[in-house]
Symmetry: C2
């Protein structure tokens, strides 16, 4: 891309550079949910139409978009902007653990929903975050693990199937 811009589109390169440095100056983190925002509070935190008793902890802004696409969640978010990953030198400070604890301890939050990925690092992050939040007397839940909607047993990996079996639940009437 760099070669193309320098050789064939020097004007476009200038526009791109301008847009990038403008974004760098304008975009910061929302004071409440830690997501990218141009204002002190992001639009989602500022509306006042979301349920402030629910706080959903996710890894990235892309995950927040996915959650919003489901239209199944009406609470607020906290974006970690990463996950615990000792091998990459990402510890509790890098994912804003302290800020999350302060955010969740605001006295309004009743339930923290851990929605980090079901990868090894996401699970470790959920475990560590959940542990600290529970010590503060908060209700902590984790999104369900199991067979995807529309999924057939024959094509599901055996780890998922074993987990779905262990986490089976009573059928509702």
């Amino acid at each position: 891309m760099a070669f193309h811009l320098l050789q064939r589109d020097r004007e476009g390169a200038g526009r791109l550079a301008g847009a990038l440095s403008e974004a760098l100056g304008a975009i910061r983190h929302c004071a409440q949910c830690n997501n990218f925002s141009e204002t002190e509070l992001c639009d989602l935190c500022a509306t006042g139409e979301r349920d402030p008793r629910l706080l959903c902890v996710i890894e990235t802004p892309a995950d927040l978009l996915m959650m919003e696409l489901t239209r199944a969640y009406q609470g607020l978010y906290f974006v970690l902007m990463g996950r615990l990953s000792p091998l990459e030198g990402i510890g509790p400070n890098e994912i804003g653990m302290q800020r999350l604890l302060e955010r969740a301890g605001d006295g309004i939050t009743e339930e923290v929903i851990l929605a980090t990925n079901f990868t090894a690092e996401g699970e470790a992050t959920a475990h560590a975050v959940g542990e600290l939040l529970r010590q503060r007397g908060l209700k902590v839940t984790r999104i369900a693990r199991g067979v995807p909607v529309g999924g057939e047993l024959e094509y599901v990996d055996s780890g998922t199937l074993a987990q779905a079996l262990l986490e089976r639940r009573p059928t509702s009437l």
Copy 2:
């Protein structure tokens, strides 16, 4: 395959025909779990080493193999050999509903685990079967629906994510 056998491998065709009619004569349904078996009771039902209080309801013999691969289940099975599908003319009689009710009502079975697929037909089957079993006072559970093990939120369909959110569960200590 038929053209190949007739033109190039008439001897193989004879062997295949023999094997097939032998199988047709020898293989029937296990009297207990309804799976294919060469004996009155299949090996799995006959061992006596499985937990008779658990009964897992699945659609096909292939699903039974998948469940066994997980090594997470120690109970017995009932194979429906299909699913409810009104459009294909498959009703309660075709999936051995009556046999399942008799099997589950043996007085030893305590919990019936519904492990039909999470497709529309599989869900409808689980609902119908579960309803009838609950009326007979049995504990009925369904394997978990949610994000697969190793799954990342960003790449999961929104139906599954919504379901995982609705079926979130308290984290254990």
